[in-house]
Symmetry: C2
Subunit: 225 residues, 2 copies
C-alpha cells in the first residue's frame, strides 16, 4: 500500500510539473520572450555553443541565460565573461534535472521582462532532463561527434522530446568513427520533425544556421503564432 | 507531513541499498570474484574500453559482464560479439542509475559462480550512478578527452566515489583543449587515493596498465584481503 502511495505522488508531481511548465510558457509568450531549453551529455559543448550563438545574436536580440549545475558556477560565469550578457547560475543540489517548479523559482530571482530570448542551459545528462518539461518553448539537444552516432538508439526519449538537434564538434569528425547520415536517420526515426544542424562551436561552422532558426522563432513568439 | 514521509522513504531506500550492496560484496568475496562497476558520461568509451580490457585478460581470467541501458541491447551484444564472453543486458526501464537491488535481481539471472572478474557497465550518466552503491568492490570512472578537463569540478560526487579514473581517447588530445595535469589535480583534490590511468581504448595505449591493476585486484579478492 505504501508503494501505491509513492506512485501516486510521482504521478501528481509530473502532472503538477506540466501545469507549472504551461504557466511559464504563457508568461513568456505574453512578454514576447522565446524560451529555449538546451540539453546534452556532459562535455558535448553546451556552454561553448551558447557563447558562440549569443555573441552572434546579442546586437539583434536582448538575451538572458540561466545555467544549471550541481554545485559549481563555472558555466554561468563563463557565459557572462565571454558574452557580456546577464547570466544566472542555478545550483540544483545534486539532482540530475531541472523541473518547471525549479525554473519558476529561478524566474523569481532573474528578471526576464524585456528579453527577446531566454536560454536555460540544463544539467549535462541524457536521461533525467528529458523527463521534465521546464516550460521552454523549444528543446534543443547537442550531440557531439566524439560521443558516437549511436546515442539516439541508447537515449531515445531525449531525441523524442527535442525539437532541434545540434551535432557539435564537426571539426573533429575525421578522428572519430561518426557517421552523420546514420545519426540523422536515427534521430529522424525517433522524431521525424526534428531539425538537425551539424555545427562546430569551436570553428563557427553551422552557427549562422542555428542563429537564423532562433531569429525566426523569436519573431514567431512576438507575433503570438 | 507528507513531505517528511517522502524523505524517510528516500533515506530508507539508501540504507536498504547499502545493506544489499554489502551482501552482494560478501557473496562475491566468498566465491573469489572481483566485481567492478564502470561509470561515465554517454559516449566516453565504456564499451570500447571494456572490450579492449576483456580481450587482453580473457585467457588469464574467467570474465563476466552485465550491461545496463534504458532499453537497447547494443552494448552487451557488442561485448559478447567482440570478446566471446557471456554478457547480460539489463534494461532499467528509463531510470538514470542501477542500484544494489537491481544488481541483486540481475544476479538471479546471471550465474557468476567460477568468475574471477564480474564487470558492471553502468548507464551513461555522471550524476545518478554516483549515488547508489551497486555492491561492486571498486568503482571505475571513464573521463574522455573531448569532454574536457573541467568535469571533476562539475560532477564532484562521481570522482569522490571512484577508486580508479581512466582518461580515455588520449589519441585525440592534440585536437582538444584538454590539460591532463589539470584533470589529474582536480580528480586528486576530490579523492587523493584515486588511481588515474591515461588510455586510448582505440589505439591500446595504457590498457596494459589497467589490466595489471585488475589482475592485482583479482589476486587480492582471492586472498581474501
Amino acid at each position: 500500500m505504501s508503494e501505491v502511495r509513492v506512485i501516486q505522488i510521482h504521478e501528481s508531481i509530473f502532472a503538477e510539473n506540466d501545469r507549472t511548465a504551461e504557466r511559464i510558457r504563457e508568461r513568456m509568450e505574453k512578454q514576447g520572450t522565446l524560451f529555449l531549453n538546451v540539453m546534452s551529455s556532459p562535455g558535448s559543448g553546451k556552454t561553448t555553443t551558447l557563447v558562440a550563438v549569443i555573441n552572434r545574436l546579442k546586437d539583434k536580440l536582448n538575451i538572458g541565460e540561466m545555467d544549471v549545475d550541481i554545485q559549481s558556477s563555472l558555466d554561468a560565469q563563463r557565459v557572462a565573461d565571454l558574452t557580456g550578457i546577464r547570466a544566472l547560475q542555478i545550483h540544483n543540489g545534486g539532482l540530475c534535472h531541472i523541473d518547471a517548479d525549479m525554473t519558476a523559482r529561478a524566474l523569481l530571482e532573474y528578471d526576464t521582462a524585456g528579453l527577446d530570448l531566454l536560454i536555460l542551459e540544463n544539467i549535462g545528462n541524457l536521461v533525467c532532463p528529458a523527463e521534465f518539461d521546464t516550460g521552454a518553448h523549444k528543446n534543443v539537444t547537442i550531440l557531439s561527434v566524439p560521443e558516437g552516432d549511436d546515442k539516439p538508439l541508447k537515449y531515445p526519449l531525449m531525441y523524442q522530446v527535442s525539437d532541434v538537434v545540434l551535432i557539435n564538434k564537426m571539426d573533429t569528425v575525421a578522428y572519430f568513427d561518426f557517421d552523420l547520415e546514420k545519426a540523422r536517420e536515427r534521430i529522424l526515426a525517433l522524431n521525424p520533425n526534428a531539425l538537425i544542424f551539424p555545427i562546430s562551436a569551436k570553428t563557427g561552422e553551422g552557427i549562422d544556421a542555428v542563429c537564423s532558426w532562433i531569429l525566426a522563432e523569436t519573431e514567431r513568439v512576438k507575433r503570438g503564432a
